[in-house]
């Protein structure tokens, strides 16, 4: 199940449907527009499924081991053998854990449910289990859960389906919120950080926006030059921005290394390989990040807590000495923002950002 959902995340064949308004190829009919379009495709459905399963995914394998321990996985092997099951690797936990009372919980009735719920809640009990004990039994599951993460970068780089990008960001928020995944996010690569920083400011309209449709083949009356001349709140794609700043704030709060890497300029260049880009961290401050954060401190569009997340992110970046240059770069505009920002944001900016420069 995880396999096909993970595989679906590699779907990129999005049809926006709008390119057919102009020169419509004769070989395609209207039915094509409903298949794999930008807001209804298997990638989006798989992301939504992962969104709901985020709390069930367990990269440590401890909870799965508990289930294996409490319930016998091989009880109905003969009956439940389907075509797909023939391919599946069955784990005989009895060969791993020698226990006479293994798998008896189903015979305990409601008492068994009570025991299971208590075991599930007590993570402390589970964390005491040595890894060598349960890893052999759950290794396949752990690998399958970890296979989700490599696909995230590709999802963030999607340009032709805004819905997929927003849903992907939502999924990452849920994964970051799960404390079990913190060990994975401690190793967040530069490419992901750079892409999240890029998403902090994306225009809502125009050629740089997501799902941009070329006006040469499409007449989109809603796009006008006057709209493109609007202020920050009018021009920014705030749905993408709000989620990106939340993820960045949560990721950078995990370690100083991430704070340093996020504050430095990361170069992304197209590689010969057609799948991923090569990223390189430089010693220069990431001006794009600071330029994107400052207007967020006083924004009136999007979620209410976005200015707070932006202020906290700036405060975290100011915590490390390596980002001093970047904070100095944005100092004057931070002071300007103090008059427009709300009280909570102002306090963070004064105490945790500007005061750091005096130390």
């Amino acid at each position: 199940m995880l396999r096909i959902l993970t595989g679906s995340l590699y779907f990129r064949n999005f049809y926006t449907g709008k390119e057919f308004r102009g020169a419509k190829p004769p070989e395609r009919d209207e039915g094509d527009l409903t298949v794999g379009n930008s807001s209804n495709n298997i990638c989006l459905h798989a992301i939504n499924a992962f969104h709901n399963m985020a709390s069930f995914l367990d990269i440590t394998g401890r909870k799965v081991f508990l289930d294996l321990y409490l319930l016998d996985g091989d009880i109905d092997v003969d009956k439940s053998q389907t075509k797909a099951a023939k391919f599946a690797e069955s784990v005989d936990i009895k060969s791993v854990v020698k226990a006479d009372l293994y798998g008896r919980i189903q015979g305990m009735g409601w008492a068994g449910l009570h025991v299971a719920k208590n075991f599930n809640a007590k993570d402390d009990t589970l964390s005491k289990l040595p890894e060598g004990l349960f890893r052999p039994a759950v290794k396949n599951y752990v690998r399958a859960s970890l296979a989700l993460f490599p696909s995230l970068f590709g999802i963030l780089r999607v340009r032709s389906s805004r819905t997929v990008v927003v849903a992907g960001l939502e999924m990452i928020i849920l994964l970051v919120d799960n404390p079990d995944n913190s060990e994975v996010f401690l190793h967040t690569p530069d490419s992901i950080l750079a892409q999240l920083i890029n998403l902090l400011y994306l225009p809502r309209l125009g050629p740089d926006s997501l799902e941009y449709v070329d006006p040469i083949i499409n007449s989109v009356s809603r796009v006008s030059a006057m709209k493109l001349l609007g202020g920050y709140d009018m021009s920014v794609d705030y749905e993408v921005r709000d989620r990106s700043v939340e993820i960045l704030q949560k990721i950078t709060s995990m370690s100083d290394n991430l704070k340093i890497r996020a504050g430095r300029k990361i170069l992304i260049t197209p590689s010969n390989s057609c799948t991923v880009d090569v990223s390189k961290t430089t010693d220069f401050p990431c001006t794009r990040l600071f330029d994107a954060i400052i207007p967020m401190l006083t924004t009136r569009s999007g979620r209410e807590h976005t200015p707070l997340f932006a202020a906290k992110l700036l405060a975290q970046l100011a915590c490390v000495e390596e980002n001093r240059q970047g904070i100095m770069y944005s100092e004057r505009r931070v002071i300007n923002a103090l008059s427009l920002a709300n009280k909570e944001v102002t306090q963070i900016l004064i105490k945790d950002v500007l005061k750091k420069l005096d130390e």
Binding site: I4, T6, E19, D32, C43, A46, V91, S151, V184, C274
Partner: protein, 246 residues
């Protein structure tokens, strides 16, 4: 200026109007006649028969999905899609639900042309059980994307690992859509007669899984999702379902 009404005046009431609004004035419903009772019972029996016919057990669904008859497959997929999309029903697979999930996975594999099952995937990245296995511990390598679409239309798909296989099937030459126009059909999906039907079926399968992961049914369905790769055990939340049946 004089007042037209004083406080002592009673509120003007139309004579007899209190009878119209009084609850006691409402006529009591007449008891149903024997003919109506018979009609209601007939309707009830018909409704129950329809409900019974609309319910399919997991075993039946699994048989239909594994059938060689495309009509049976479509019928089962439509049933699952319809039931799982209904917000009021809170449809869950329940007992033997893992068999339905297995059948859906197999159908997905058959549609997309994958013949290796769960083998040739990350599950078999390293077979040795030593503690140095990097694939079990989160590291920088956890984030490495090894999937690479095979852009050669005549290239062999058999040796590809699962992620690259999916990328080749689903992505138009590049996973990075900022570099390539993503609305161009992928090499391997282009000019194939049944492409659209195949993608539709894949979409429906994933939609069913997505629907099953929503709402209250999630507590009973997600266990199959999260454990469905290599075990048929159920998670703790599924215990509730099992004990209800005892």
């Amino acid at each position: 200026m004089s007042n037209f009404f004083s406080l002592d005046d009673s509120f003007p009431v139309i004579p007899g109007s209190h009878l119209l609004f009084s609850p006691t004035a409402l006529a009591a419903p007449l008891p149903p006649t024997p003919v109506e009772i018979a009609k209601n019972n007939a309707r009830k029996r018909q409704r129950e028969a329809e409900e019974k016919a609309s319910k399919k057990t997991s075993i039946e669904l699994e048989h239909q999905l594994s059938s060689d008859n495309p009509d049976h497959i479509v019928e089962a997929l439509n049933f699952l899609l319809q039931q799982s999309a209904d917000h009021d029903l809170n449809f869950a697979l329940g007992r033997d639900g893992e068999k339905v999930i297995d059948a859906l996975v197999l159908l997905f594999d058959e549609t997309v042309g994958w013949v290796h099952g769960n083998s040739n995937w990350v599950l078999n990245a390293l077979d040795d059980d030593n503690s140095e296995d990097w694939s079990l511990k989160p590291s920088a390598k956890t984030w490495e994307c090894t999937a690479n679409p095979c852009i050669n239309p005549d290239g062999s798909m058999e040796k590809l690992e699962w992620q690259s296989f999916c990328a080749t099937r689903f992505a138009p030459a590049s996973l990075n859509t900022s570099l390539a126009p993503s609305h161009v059909p992928s090499y391997n999906m282009r000019n194939i007669e049944n492409d659209r039907e195949g993608i539709k079926m894949l979409e429906i399968i994933i939609m069913i899984m997505r629907n099953l992961s929503y709402g209250k049914s999630m507590a009973n369905s997600c266990p199959f999702f999260s454990n469905g790769n290599d075990t048929h055990t159920t998670r703790v939340s599924h215990l509730h379902e099992k004990f209800k049946e005892m």
